[in-house]
Amino acid sequence: MTSLIRNRNAVPNEWALLQSASGPDAFSALRGRKVLLPLELILSDEDEARAQLGAIGVWLDSHQDLASIENRIADFQLIALNFPVFSDGRPFSLARRLRLELGFTGEIRAIGDVLRDQLCFLERCGFNSFALRSDQDVDECLSAFDDFSSTYTATALNQEPIFRRR
């Protein structure tokens, strides 16, 4: 089972996720539910999705960029960024851009190959929820956020770099 951490708490996951190959015919089975849609489906069938589903979020793969939704991010409660492998660093930049430059205030979720030792930096980049890879130990993951008590760089939690705090 995939565990979810949101704002440093283990919580149940209410969101269903549609894979990138899915089409609008998948909506009827999820009627009224909260659903994470792949970016392609948002671009092709958003109206239909909003009509049938309870709430919609969007997920992007690591190679996709935000340009197509950049000017309306507030339309989404949840934006999820996928890690095909944990060592793919691209979503770190997407999250920082969403949180720090575009000012997105909703939930940013890491999905895919999400491991304990990435969590601290993911959070600093603006992720506040984490759908852990199924083999991860939730308690060990919860401790990851306290690996460091301070930081040199500006982060999503503290938007001043160290030289403005010293």
Binding site: D65, G89, E101, I162
Partner: protein, 552 residues
């Protein structure tokens, strides 16, 4: 030099604890090899041919006597009594056991040292000129900016999983001692017409399989904007650098495939969002960092004192060492001294426990307690009184540190090669030694003059062979070790990649190939012309002809 405050010290302690936990989880089987790999690399730990290798960061090459003594302790407790200075001003140990590394890091933390981001696909140790702060031709001391970059890049959460490693060098002098143009980002300090300090920013340089000289992305970035400009470049690279093929993943390939103009536009697009934001450096921060690199308490000294002149007249060996290893200093009566770690018969850059302790002692006695490691794998005492040079010279003898060959043919840059490195095609240390033996003649070396000879054991180019005036590269020919030779490379302001002479040579031929190259130079040179200048003037052909004519 920079001293840690509470923030730095706490983060470093927490890092040691974090790595201890990661190592334990790995040893318990909770982390796979693949998952542990980036974690150990970001703490400097490679798994090598014989044992793990640990690379310890020496920020921009500066070491205090206290740190040197700690390194000596580490070399005796966790290694076989020696370490190795690298071409990125760091130090490596070849024998520590994996399970000991957390303890070793705890020892380092006591003296404000660590192995953070010394390998892995992240921003590495920032390097600079070993003469920073004392060079005669300095525009501004580069070290405060190196420290600013160190803090920005350390634990930068966005750039811990870049497509590939990322190296930054800063140069504050006219002559470039930092190989700035073959770095992923190279920064040249400069002043604009209004007298403001800023940086010319190059990107896309690098060695390895595809050697490239960096290109100018911004001609002048005002110093307060330094970090936002760097962050913009890194973000474009993190988003768009290739991740499908590790041999094409460096920023040099991105810049080449995107084209400089388009790359610059992409960077500008990011920079527009970042510039003027919280990354803008404050005057207070620049001043704070500068305050750590103030001039030491120099005395008012008479230049070229009588005692020095007498010693030079009396002792010809000292005079030779003086003419090769001593560099003028901006302060009258002082000199910068290079201690060569290229004595014939010793692996280039290798340093023993005794030598580390001796360096600590020499630093305290002669140079305000500090030394600098150079990218050519030597060590500098930056602030020696001229009247003390002879005493210093005499003190070097017991530890075999008197080699008088700085920037000479036997001052070879050399990677660990096949003796230690799992990636090697061929050995490199024995080649260096064979060349040194062939040219182990003080007068001959002096006559040949300034020339750089760089050796790598494979195309990863850790020994900078592409930018050696003479470059030697180990290649594998049907399971046998062969060597390709190039000439004309340079890592200075006029950086150039060497040209390959032709078919590769057997190991035993290399000293005579080098001898042929040297004899062509000595026959053809004009007065005062250096090896590199002769190659530049007459081209590669005369050298090629001489080297291969025996085969015909």
């Amino acid at each position: 030099m920079y001293r840690y405050d509470g923030y730095d010290a706490t983060m470093l302690e927490e890092r040691v604890i974090q790595f201890r936990s990661q190592t334990n989880r790995y040893l318990e089987g909770k982390l796979t090899d693949a998952e542990f790999l980036p974690l150990r690399l970001q703490n400097g730990l490679y798994v090598q041919r014989l044992a793990p290798m640990l690379r310890i960061a020496v920020p921009y090459g500066m070491l205090s006597a206290r740190q040197l003594r700690k390194l000596a302790f580490i070399s005796s407790h966790y290694d076989k009594g020696y370490g190795h200075f690298t071409t990125r001003q760091n130090i490596q140990f070849n024998w520590p056991a994996l399970e000991d590394v957390p303890d070793l890091l705890a020892h380092l933390a006591e003296v404000e040292m660590h192995a953070i981001q010394t390998s892995g696909n992240c921003i590495r140790n920032t390097t600079t000129d070993q003469f920073a702060g004392v060079a005669v031709d300095e525009i501004e001391d580069s070290r405060p900016y190196c420290e600013i970059i160190r803090q920005w890049s350390t634990f930068h959460p966005e750039f811990a999983y870049l497509p590939r490693k990322f190296k930054i060098a800063v140069c504050g002098t006219q002559e470039d001692h930092a190989a700035t143009q073959v770095h992923d980002i190279g920064l040249y300090l400069r002043k604009n017409e209004a007298g403001e300090t800023g940086f010319q920013i190059l990107a896309g340089g690098g060695l390895g399989r595809t050697p490239v000289i960096g290109q100018v992305v911004f001609d002048f970035v005002e110093r307060h904007d330094l970090l936002s400009a760097l962050e913009a470049i890194l973000r474009v690279y993190n988003r768009e650098g290739r991740r499908d093929n590790k041999y094409k993943a460096r920023i040099k390939i991105l810049v080449r495939e995107t084209g400089l103009e388009t790359f610059r536009e992409k960077v500008m697009h990011e920079w527009k969002q970042l510039r003027g934001g919280s990354l803008t450096l404050t005057d207070a921060e620049i001043e704070r960092c500068k305050s750590y690199f103030q001039e030491p308490a120099y005395k008012a000294l008479e230049p070229n004192p009588a005692s020095l002149r007498e010693a030079l007249a009396r002792d010809v060996l000292f005079a030779s060492w003086f003419s090769h290893n001593v560099t003028p200093h901006k302060k009258l009566g002082y000199a910068a001294v290079a201690i060569s770690f290229k004595k014939t018969g010793y692996a280039p850059g290798d340093v023993s426990e005794e030598q580390l302790n001796a360096l600590a002692h020499l630093a305290e006695r002669f140079s305000f307690g500090e030394v600098r490691v150079t990218h050519a794998q030597n060590v500098i005492l930056a602030d020696v009184e001229e009247s003390e040079l002879y005493n210093l010279y005499l003190s070097l003898a017991p530890d075999s540190l008197q080699a008088d060959n700085l920037n000479k043919l036997s001052d070879i840059i050399c990677c660990p090669g096949g003796d230690f490195c799992a990636l090697a095609n061929a050995k490199s240390i024995p080649i260096a030694e064979a060349i040194q033996r062939r040219f182990d003649d003080r007068d001959l070396l002096a006559d040949i003059g300034e020339v750089s000879l760089n050796i790598s054991g494979c195309m990863n180019a850790c020994g900078h062979h592409h930018v050696g005036n003479i470059g030697v590269l180990g290649v594998d020919k049907k399971g046998e070790e062969f060597y390709q030779v190039s000439i004309g490379g340079s890592s200075k302001r006029e950086a150039k990649l060497g040209k390959i002479l032709g078919p590769s040579f057997a190991q035993t031929d290399i000293p005579s190939v080098v001898a042929d190259l040297v004899s062509v130079y000595r026959e053809r040179r004009l007065a005062d012309e250096k090896f590199i200048d002769t190659v530049e003037r007459i081209g590669v052909d005369p050298f090629k002809k001489r080297v291969y004519e025996k085969d015909q």
